[in-house]
Subunit: 142 residues, 2 copies
DNA sequence: TCCCTCGGTCCTGTTTTCCAACTTACCCGA
DNA sequence: TCGGGTAAGTTGGAAAACAGGACCGAGGGA
């Protein structure tokens, strides 16, 4: 215990459990219903229940009733949840390049009309950020 | 089972288990030794052993002997491992903005001399990618 | 009426994970 | 030579997480 304090660790404490990011992927792709999310992710239903509840509790999802009779619910992303799209894009791009064999299973298009290949740049100079192109200014030591 | 085929899922199958990304974070920040990685992540030693072994097996890390007598090892990132830096940066930025309260615990500087704030842009038009700014062209349905 | 859907809950057994102590192999200083 | 320290794990037992399937309640449709 008494590990390094870090926003990566904090982020993973919220979305790092198994199935959480896949559930968010589904909602981001427009799949909002419990049964569909369960089917598409492959998570067992009870685990998915606890994951979705946690994501609602921490404010990444909202559970909205979309039908009164019978009561039916759907999950929608909050602003914090939507902000995770950069993480999912980075993960998908990395998976496409280094893990998945063959063609990318999912292809996205940017509003500019071209196939989306995400690129991470420095918000200040707009140059791409390359591995080793950063230095640590300040960091918590455990 | 029989879930959606997707590079996000494939990526998470490799680095999605608890402690894996934190171990990679440490190596990326220059911490290469077992004991230090264990201390800084907070992972228990046995779990860390299996995680590091898996990361070596899938080719994200290499285990190198840096001392013959006694035998001592250190972990270094392969190119695939280094490529994960975009994922970690996205996660850290999201954590800084939406999870961590107060100041970011870790501050990085870009080679341009300014504090690094990563920005995800489209590699083609160089415009920022915003939530909902993409459409799905092709996708596997389970 | 009977069967179906949706959004879960419950139960049971298997896997993982956690935690602390132990091990091996060597170095160092007194 | 004795004791202590470090590095990189192993081991064993308890606790937690997970998988998979049955079940449930409120309604819908034929």
């Amino acid at each position: 215990m008494a590990a390094r304090e870090c926003s990566i660790a904090n982020a993973l404490a919220v979305v790092g459990e198994r199935w959480s990011l896949l559930a968010i992927r589904e909602v981001m792709f427009g799949v909002r219903r419990f049964d569909q999310i369960a089917r598409n992710t492959g998570a067992s239903r009870d685990i998915l229940t606890t994951r979705l509840r946690k994501l609602v509790d921490v404010g990444l999802l909202e559970r909205e009733r979309y039908e009164e009779h019978p009561p039916r619910y759907e999950y929608v992303l909050t602003e914090s949840g939507q902000a995770l799209h950069t993480v999912l894009l980075a993960l998908m791009d990395w998976g496409d390049r280094h893990i998945t064999r063959g063609e990318p299973p999912t292809v996205l298009e940017h509003t500019c009309g071209h196939t989306l290949h995400p690129l991470t740049v420095c918000a200040h100079c707009h140059e791409p950020v390359v591995p080793g192109g950063t230095t640590v200014v300040r960091m918590h030591q455990p």
